[in-house]
Symmetry: C2
Subunit: 212 residues, 2 copies
């Protein structure tokens, strides 16, 4: 009888467990898309994310006001430097990066909007349990709606509002734990001689937001 | 040696298997949201879908041009009738439904845009393999981009373009195989005496598109 009671409490506890804000794994890589409400900017790319070394690489192919662009950027937050890399021409532009590294995470004070299953929970392999949160942008300039997986805290999508583009939808896909090509998180050899361009500052969001 | 050859061919065949257009399960229920580019319409609702009996019920809560609305509709395609149901007041409006039933499916001539994993494939339970297709709307008036799960062909999202709203994004969630409350696919008792209103015709998309 006592065992039954304990079991019931245990089961009830498990079922009653509410999602908690979480941090995504420190080493991640995958694909991402950016789409904007006013259709000025669309972007497709791949990213490497190293929260331990505070390094991000984003390789993008996009369209800004009907003009296509490519961009390949390595952001080294510890060193306060970013590189715009052109592998084809073996050229490199070095710029200051004067913002703090922001790990991919749901802020501690975020509010849960919904927990839903994408696809179906009826059969294994047909569904994905995700949590959607609303919280402040890291710089407190606005709100962000973020969806992450319940298991693993893998990013699925972010929705921001910007004055320039209206709503901006960033979707992640094909994420894997770890970095398949870690050498891409170091500046290429041909960046060795690049001089720092000091005229403009850059942060992570502006990589997508201030194209071209 | 022959066995090895057969095995290799079999494995290669499995790995080389490209996604094929598919039909969603005939009995489905779940939640859906509709969001429009121009923000005139947003909607949240639940649906029951019976492709065998050609019956759909959609219970919606939404906002059209900053005015909230609720809508509860039962569409009986075989009978060519739809009911707008008000459970609270026990009232019912009966209307003609002069369109063919369209099962949830990827058209046979659709083109695969991408196969991606939402979340991560690194750990079980953290990812969902989905296929995104572009095809014609059933009435050939435009294109639709549809995402369904690779396993089970469960709908995940649809993207349409409309003149009235710009891009319309319909997302499905919490889908289950089967109908938990089948009596909701029959007209309620209090609909028995409803007279047919003949002035306007309705189809499935217009349930969301012509609010209120």
């Amino acid at each position: 009888m006592i065992l039954f009671g304990v079991l019931t409490c245990f089961l009830a506890g498990c079922l009653a467990q509410r999602p908690h804000p979480c941090s995504s794994p420190p080493l991640l890589s995958g694909g991402l898309t950016v789409d904007t409400q006013n259709e000025k900017l669309t972007m497709y790319g791949r990213y490497l994310y190293d929260a331990l070394g505070q390094r991000i690489r984003v390789m993008e192919l996009g369209s800004f006001e009907n003009t296509t662009f490519t961009n390949d950027a390595l952001l080294l937050y510890r060193e306060g430097v970013m590189y715009e890399i052109n592998d084809h021409d073996r050229t490199c532009v070095k710029k200051p990066l004067k913002v703090d590294f922001q790990p991919i995470a749901i802020p501690k004070d975020a509010s849960l909007l919904a927990q839903v299953v994408l696809g179906s929970s009826s059969e294994p392999g047909q569904g994905l349990l995700v949590n959607t949160w609303v919280g402040d942008l890291p710089d407190k300039t606005g709100k962000v709606i973020s969806t992450v997986t319940e298991f693993g805290c893998i990013p699925v999508g972010n929705l921001y509002h910007t004055d320039k583009f209206g709503w901006v939808l960033m979707n992640y896909f094909d994420n894997v734990l770890g970095i398949p090509d870690p050498e891409r998180l170091n500046p290429p050899v041909f960046c060795g001689g690049a001089e720092m361009k000091v005229e403009d500052e850059t942060d992570f969001l502006s990589l997508f937001m201030n194209k071209p």
